[in-house]
Every structure is written in C-alpha cells, then in structure tokens.
Amino acid sequence: MGFFLEVLIGGLLAGVLYSLVALGFVLIFKASGVFNFAQGAMVLTAALALVRTLDIAQKEWHWPFWLALVAGFLFAAFVMAIIAWASERLVLRKLVNQEGIILFMATIGMTFFIEGLAQTVFGADVYPLNIGLPKEPIFILESVFDGGILVNELDIWAAVIAGLLVAGLALFFQRTRIGRALRAVADDHAAAQSVGIPLNQIWFIVWLVAGLVALAAGAVWGSKLGVQFSLTLLALKALPVLILGGFTSVPGAIIGGLIIGAGEKLAEVFLGPMMGGGIEIWFAYVLALLFLLVRPQGLFGERIIERV
C-alpha cells in the first residue's frame, strides 16, 4: 500500500512535469492552430541558454549566484524572444492560411534548425543545472508506512510552478481580449486578418509566451536530468498528455498530465515486470487513445465542429 501510494504520487508529480512541456504546445495550438513540434527544441535551447550563462557568470565573471541566476533567466528569455521573432518573421508570416499539416512540417524544420544552432552555440555536453531548487529526496508518512513514502522536493516545486502557470494562462485565454483574438486566429487566419487582428504581433506574443513556458520547463527538467540533448525528447512524453487533455485546453494539460503520469508509472511498476518492462511509453499513448475513443477531442478540448 505504501509502495502503491509512492508510485502514484511519483507518477502524479512526473505527470505535472510533462504538463509543463505540454502547456507550451497547447498555447501555440490554441492561439494559431499550429501544432508546434519545435517545443521540445525550445525547451532544450532555453535550458542551454540558462545553464551556460549561469556557468559563465559564476565561473568566469565570478558573479554571485543570485545575480548570475537573474542574468541567466534574462538571457534565456531573450533567446526565446529571438526565436519567437524569427519564427514569426521568417516562417509563419510566409505560411499564413496554409493547412495545419504544412505548418506542422514547418515547425519540424524549425526543430532541426534550432537544435543544430543551439548545439553549435552551446555545445553538446551534459551540463548540470542548479537554480537553487532543492533536490533532496524526502520521506513522508514514515510513521504510517515502512520506509515512508519517497517524494522529491524538486518535483513538488515543479508542480507548484506548473500549477501557477496553468492558472494564469487559463485566465488569460478565457478572459482577455487577446485571448479571444488568439482563438480567432486559430480558427481562421484569413478572417482574423480581415477583422484587423495583427497576426504578426499575435504570433510573436504567443511564441514568446510559449518560449517562456519552455524556459520554465527547461529550468525544471534541466535541474532534474541535467541539461542536454534528450530534453528535446520530452516532446514525445508530452504528446499523450496533450491529446488526452485536448490540444486546446490549458487546464486539460494539467489534468492530462496527472492521468498520464499516474497511469504510466503504475503500469510500468506493476504491470511492467510481468511484460518484460519498458511499457510506459506505449502505455501512455494507449491510455490516451482509449480516452480519445470516448471523447475524440480529448477530455477538455474544444468540440470538433462537424457541419455541412
């Protein structure tokens, strides 16, 4: 029982971390109908920019930790802004009103470009990242269960960050004028232009926000795993979260994350050994698929309009 709880909690927390990545996807999809495959690469780039600045500022310029940290975040945000600007200017603007699949493909092109560039500039090593988040394991409920239940402080912090981001962004989308405009753009680029919504600015803003979310994800995941290439693969872990929660729902990303995280960890730990292990990744997808069969737009996604 203690172990079950431990796996469950571990899974839920891991799930929230996936949500953090999924959130970036949701933002861009909701706001422009673009399925942004480059989100994983953005996470990597943000983390790399952060960790490199942090290292250099501390080791070479001998700045105090907190100053280096601020500089690191600022610089990483700046890099994200450049990416947002460039994607709008060089890619999206030229592909207005194209089908989703074409834009999707374009973001794959961006993925390659960003990954290549980031690794050229920042190197391909593994960089340990320390942004002051506590990393020690803690054991709770030791009196109740033998050995207690292991939770990781970092995960809890990450969950808090994710929760705050989600709440903020959900409000932003539902309540503000910009939020409404973003949803309009996602529905119909041409019509949005025709009513005077400045696609260019909108896209820049959204990509920037998605970039900042990527920075948050990169900072957390980087602290966990070290900053290196396979952060881009987080995208693949985030996808089931995304489809389960619905591409267009900010809260869906969190709920989806919780379900997927708990589901896959429980499956891996309890079913995995019987099946030879390594089942969590496909289990996550199959789980998402099952939910989709019931609700084809994901749990909280916008209804897919079917009309003639």
């Binding site: 431990e6 391909a124 795993l225 290196q228 290439f229 693969l233 960890k265 891996e268 995995g272 292990g277």
Partner: protein, 415 residues
C-alpha cells in the same frame, strides 16, 4: 598513393554525444599525432575521416558503406562504436573483407576467431565484464559462496548493447545462486523514474548499470533521488567515465564502475600528444576532456588499430595495407609490456596477445570509484573466469556458424 585510410564512426550529436565526443577526440588525436610525429605508420601517412552515426544502426551502416572503399586500399578497419552497429556490420564485413575492432563491446561470442574471422572484441567483452562485476561483488561481500540468495539487478540500455551481458549473468545466477533481476530502460534513457521506483521496491543488493550516454548520468541521479546507495552500483566500463557522473553533482559520489583496464589520467604518451597535437591546436578536444577516461580509451583504440597495421606491415611490407592484411595484423597483434611502455601507454593497458582462437586478447579488468571529484582505482586486477565463459562462447559461436553455414577455421592450422 602511399596512404592508409582509417575511418571513424562517431557521434558528436544527440543523446550519446557527451560520451561520444571525448572518445572520438581521443581516436582522432592519436592518429594526428602519428602523422605529425612519425609521418604515419612506417612512412605510410594515415588519412582519417569521421562519419556521424548518432549511435543509430542504420546510419552506422550508411557510414560503413560510404567509407569502406575509400583510400587506395579501402578502410583498414572499422570501430563501429556501438554494439548494434557491430551486429549489423558483422554480416557485411566478411563479404567486404574489412576487420571490425570492437574494443570492449560488440558480440561476446565473436571472441571465437574460428567462426568470427573479422571481429575483434579486443580487451574485453560484455560477458567478461559481467563476470568481473560479479567477482567484485563477491569480493565485497566476502566470497563467491556468499552470493547465494543475494539479489543483483541489471539496469540496462534496451538495445543489443544492454542485452549482451544478460546471458552471462543468467548463467552465473544459476551457478552461484543469486537472484538476477533485469530491468530495461528504453533508449535513450533520460527518464528512469519507474525503473528506480521498482528498484526501491525490490531492494536488490547490487545494481549493475549497463548504460550509455545520458542514461548513465540519469541513472546515477535517480539513484540519488531514491536514496539507493551509490556504492552498491557497479557500472560497466561504458558507464564509468566523467560525463556519467559529473552531471549528477554530489549525488554521484561513491558510484563504482569497471575499467577497461585503463584509468583516467595522463600516461607517457601525453608528452608527444601535447607536443604535436594539443599544443599546436590540432585537437578538437576541450581542455577538461584531455586525460579523461573516454579520451584515453579513444587513444587506446587508435593505438591498437595502428599497431595492428604495423604488425601487418612487418609481414606484408611498408605500404598501405588492405583490410585482409590488417585482419592478419590484428590477429597476430602481440603487445608486450615493454612495447606498451615504449608506446607510452604504461599503466593504461596490460599486455595483449591476440590469436585465431582468442580475438579478445586479454580478459583483465579493475574497478574504480567516483569520489565526487575524480575516479580512484579501488581494486586489484580481476581475470574473467573462463571456466564459465569459454563454453558459452563456444556454444553460441557454433550456433551462429550453423545458422550462417560457416565452416569454422581450424585455428591450430593458422600461423
């Protein structure tokens, strides 16, 4: 053209790059040094070209096809730097007559040169490694007989590489009576939460780590996260370098790993390296890479390869060698302690003598431990127990031979 072509299959990008880069730099720098210092091997200049495989088998095959015919005599030998690629190339090498040097990796049964004419798992195979690891555990707990009832987990990269030791561990678990618990980690292995939860539940006495690239540092970090004692973890020699522990920060302290004989640090050869390669800025390596475990291993890989060519030249003359000739050279490689010292590798490897029946050449290994700053050698030399391994090799190789309709050579007739 008086040139010997040596190809290099490397990965400097992707999830395995942190480990791939220092190795590749070592390989490259040694060759550069030979060219700069000696003008090549016996006056034959070496041309060297890298090809990026990204540790992907199909790209590895592509690289092989691209490079095997290059240079006046074709590629001297290939070091696929991946067990998966080795498997694929094992099928192709005999046809193309190119030897494969798979130093410390590859097919364990390919040590049987009678069947695997073209494979050379020099310095050790994963079965050797598995055996040595178990020997070390036995020693720590006070003898092979204490293994009974113990639980040993294998946390492995889910690829041919990670699976390679399983057969040997199973055999030993039967023999010594310990419980063997294989736990796969899907590639690339950056996410291991559930595996470590499982370990936390199963509480194995030891965890063997067969990881590569980011999987290693992730494993060490996760071990820290679940408070699994790091000193009860023993990595294979591909999980025992700096990139595997540095990212884990202080969580890495105490972690142990096998050594492919050599430690981190600088042996005599570095003098010449400094002089001819690093000093003049001909190296791609970053300063902290130099003298690291994987960089050293790269040097050794090139040294063994070029010494084999030298051996071949002794028989066939000082001109570029064909793959076939190089193969002969590797098979007759005989590095004595003196020769090794002469080459500047004293303390890096022990004597090695390859033969038709033994393509591995030596089965020695040690254990080192990370103290948070550096690797310290903590054990004596172990020799793998051939009473367990030899029959396995024989049996598996024979099976391969029948499957592929190969008639094994008669090694007693080879000179």
């Amino acid at each position: 053209q008086n040139e010997q072509f040596i190809p290099g299959l490397v990965y400097r990008t992707g999830a395995y790059a942190p480990n791939g880069i220092p190795f590749a730099d070592g390989v490259r720098d040694y060759i550069t040094m030979l060219n700069e210092r000696d003008g090549g091997i016996n006056g034959v200049k070496i041309t060297f070209e890298e090809c990026e495989t990204g540790y992907a088998t199909d790209r590895g095959v592509e690289c092989y096809e691209r490079l095997k015919g290059k240079g006046p005599t074709g590629a001297a030998y290939f070091s696929p730097l991946s067990t998966g690629i080795t498997f694929a190339l094992t099928e192709k090498a005999p046809g193309d007559k190119v030897p494969l040097i798979t130093m410390g990796y590859g097919r364990s049964e390919s040590r049987d040169g009678a069947v695997f004419e073209w494979n050379f798992p020099l310095l050790g195979t994963y079965w050797t490694a598995a055996n040595v690891a178990v020997q070390h555990i036995a020693k720590e707990i006070g003898g092979l007989d204490k293994l009974k009832g113990k639980k040993i987990a294998l946390l492995y990269h889910d690829s041919p590489y990670g699976k390679e030791p399983i057969a040997a561990l199973e055999a030993m678990s039967k023999k010594y009576g310990f419980e063997f618990l294989p736990i796969p980690v899907p590639a690339p292995g950056s996410e291991q939460k559930s595996q470590w939860l499982q370990i936390r539940q199963q509480r194995p006495d030891y965890v063997l780590l067969w990881g590569w690239g980011v999987m290693n540092s992730a494993a060490v970090t996760e071990a820290g996260n679940v408070n699994y004692p790091r000193d009860k973890m023993i990595g294979v020699w591909w999980s025992g370098a700096e990139p595997d522990v540095v990212p884990a920060g202080d969580k890495g302290a105490g972690y142990k790993a096998l050594m492919l004989q050599h430690p981190a640090g600088k042996s005599a050869v570095y003098a010449d390296l400094e002089k001819y390669v690093i000093g003049p800025g001909k190296s791609l390596a970053k300063p902290d890479e130099i003298g690291s475990v994987l960089y050293n291993r790269g040097l050794i890989n090139s040294m063994l390869g070029t010494e084999s060519i030298r051996t071949a030249m002794a028989k066939f003359g000082n001109k570029p060698m064909t793959g076939e000739q190089v193969r002969w050279g590797i098979e007759h490689l005989d590095l004595t302690a003196d020769r090794i010292k002469q080459l500047g590798f004293e303390g890096m490897i022990g004597p090695i003598k390859v033969s038709c029946s033994d393509h591995e050449g030596t089965r020695l290994s040690r254990v080192h431990q990370w103290d948070g700053k550096k690797w310290n050698v903590i054990s004596d030399w172990y020799t793998a127990d051939d009473s367990i391994l030899a029959p396995m090799v024989k049996e598996t190789a024979a099976k391969y031979a029948t499957e592929k309709k190969i008639t094994p050579r008669d090694c007693s007739k080879e000179s």
